[in-house]
Amino acid sequence: MKRTLFWKSVFIVVIVLACLAGITGIPKGLSWSAVRRSMASRIHLGLDLQGGMHLVLQVHVNDAVRTQMAQDIQRLQADLAKRGIAYASIAQPNPHRQPAMFMVRGIPEAQSGNFQGEVQNLLGPGYSVTEVAGQPGSFTVRLAASEVTALKSRALAQSIETINNRINQLGVTEPTIRPNGLGAYQILVELPGYSDLGRVKQVMQETAMLEITGVKGGPYNSQADALSQFNGILPEGETLLPGKSIGANSNGAGQWYLVSSLPVVTGSDLRDAQPNMSSTGGWEVDFTLTRDGGQRFAQFTGANIGRSLAVILDGRVQEAAVIQARISDQGRITGNFSRQSASDLALVLRSGALPASISYLEEEVVGPSLGADSIHSGILAALVGFVAVAGFMLVYYKGAGINAVLALVLNLIILMAYMAWVDATLTLPGIAGIILTIGMAVDSNVLIFERIREERRNDKPIASAVDIGFSRAFRTILDTHVTTVVSAVFLYLFGTSEIKGFAITLTAGLIANLFTAVFVSRVIFDYELLRLPRGAELSI
């Protein structure tokens, strides 16, 4: 008896020490502040407690499908021209409702078999070509549903990757960027401790499509002016683009350039981009090209010395300059940049483009002061509540009250250690789970103690009263705990992230409670029984 009791106590002490180490980690010193720092690095506080930003984004993945279709149409046009297959038009009849299909019209009957084979050959087995019933010469080209889903998933993954790259450069510690469980193609972004929403949105939403291409003509004073030079029809393979001085809602006056549609270098050829202060005191962005891009750029600039090239950003000519010499892998974007806009542009160029547009479904910014208030008042309320409950237990159950308080404290220690071990985040609903745990822990003690008292009233000897009290109450405790854990499992499986936080702390707390309220409390009782002089009454 004495011996098993000893080993049981050793077991309990080991668990307590392991849990304490789990909560505080191994502090760098023994001072209170070192322990506190170490604790803060192990117990993560949710946004609602420490302040920060929570965003839910919708990725418009159909954009990526439409982009894919546009590329396919371009390739098919070029291919059909090469093979000498005539057609009247290739277009998407309803790009918004049906982004994954396009129609080809006016294929001569003699070439229709040839055409179908060619499409399948060029675009691959993921596409189906069917002739529209009743409209000879008209064909529907459709991307298979499984391929569309794969394309959309890729767009989501790439968006997450890009946003991750961009956010990382803002220097936020421990950002969360992952698919949001709630709706399809949504991204959850959580930035603890960061509250500048404007900056985040700007950096995230910037598309920054960079292209460098040859200038074929211009600058012209207006779009109409440029078109009149070519009798209204632009040469094939060339595009008219506005210069950066033209605002979105101006009347179109300003500088326009005619540039080659086929860029020499695009944003994906960049290896690095950095903001720099120019010799005139303004800001500019210097970039370095990859080896592959650099070779192409060198070839192009070498062959076009004396002609102009244009740096195009998001469809606007940022800069047009005369090529002075062969340039291999360095380039520069100048313009009226401020320090902030130059560094944001460099950041966006470095991190790559978003494959689809995004919109915001939910935004939450919690100021650091509110978070601090919540923690202070939450801790104060918990302490006052705890002292009141502990005080009552000590008065009402005297000696046994000490058991209850010890079990309660131990329960909290194990719970916090669990949170630290699994890197769980403590949020307000999580605190609600802890409160329910404490309530049920107190309840377990009350159940056991009341049962022991009852058995004593029926004149059972002390030792067997304790024994019966524990075994009878244990059945009830097990039932209440399992029922609650069953519900917590469902909440975890189907709940929103807030509800999940509640379910996690509740489950961990209840399991800890089975250990503390039943096992630990029993060991303490057994010690008391051993020391109790013959004939004396148990303090309960």
Binding site: L361, G367, D443, S487, V489, F494
Partner: protein, 411 residues
Amino acid sequence: MEFFRQTNIDFLGKKWYFLALTMTLFVIGMAALAYYHGPRLGIDFTGGTMVDVKFSQPAPISKIRAGLSKIGLGASTIQPVGYSGGKEVLISVSLKHLTKSGLETGRRDIEQALYSVLGKPAGKADINNVSVPQLTGFLMQKDPNGWAGSGDPKAEAEYQALATAMLNQRDRVWGGLAPSLGAFSQVPGVTPAVLQDLRVGYYISPFYINSVNIVGPEVGAQLRGQAVKAVLLALLGMLVYIAFRFEWIYGVAAVVAVFHDVLITLGMFALFRITMDLTVIAAFLTLVGYSMNDTIVVFDRVRENLKIMRRDKLSDIVNRSINQTLSRTVLTSGLTFLSVLSLLALGGQVLRGFSFAMTFGILVGTYSSIAVAAPMMVAYIDWRNRRQRPLRAMATAKTGRTQGEKVARGR
């Protein structure tokens, strides 16, 4: 010390009073839900914008409303936050008052409305609502310490550290509201030159935006749907477990009692016009847990007593069980009530809805285990036995044996 000793109250005998009280509470709650104003859903569920603003003086609510009316947001709710001495308000604009672009601009609109009625000196920014990057940019431009001018490559990092220290002082020490620009001299690194530039570019507004929450319509509906689904499935899971451990009627009675608690508490939310948000959902989950716990403790005792008191009527057994566990029920509920009360008084505004639901829920939850779950279970089993007795009586007549007792105990 002991509060209860061998009580012998006839709880089941009072079941008609309980039913009357339950129905009264239920009708009041439902009437409040249906005819008074429904539960006020937070923007978590409806979609919209909610801004928590803290003022250095009691909040000028009529002025705020005037400012919001000017930009067409006159229908916003302005709710003072309890225990803040009227210095903190929650401004909520539900989605139907916002245009599509309004969702994105909600915060800025409200900020501009506040500036327009509270006055803002021209050409000056507000130190209470400035962010670290903005302040860093300002310092870099003014360069009071001459770091940027001397070409120090670390200048930006140094100004950023200074800006962070200043705003930390504002947020963590002064609770978001700087007492005066001069007070920033307490922050290490703020030189008289910095203060001088600060006085040129900034002023102190009487408010600070504590938090902003914007929820789009899709998310609102999704959150609502998922929360309801999770809770219903959790209830179903509990029903199945209790049915498995006891008898199915026990599970049904326990779940009905929990439903009763949730519905009545919902009614109280409507009656007292307390906003329901996601935190309140957590409170309802906690409440469901407590109420279920109470019910199971009683049922467990009934199961145990059924084995000992073989000759008694079921209603006597249940009565006895409730009396035996009464001391435990009152103690546990009382203690939990104590800690939730401290949460309501001291827990801060974020936990207000939660604590309200809990305070009320513990009372209803305790009541329902005794007054709803137990009588319902007894009533059903008695009814089942009465229906079966004529058949059994015939069987008894034939075999000449009595089975009445066994049937009466519902086993």
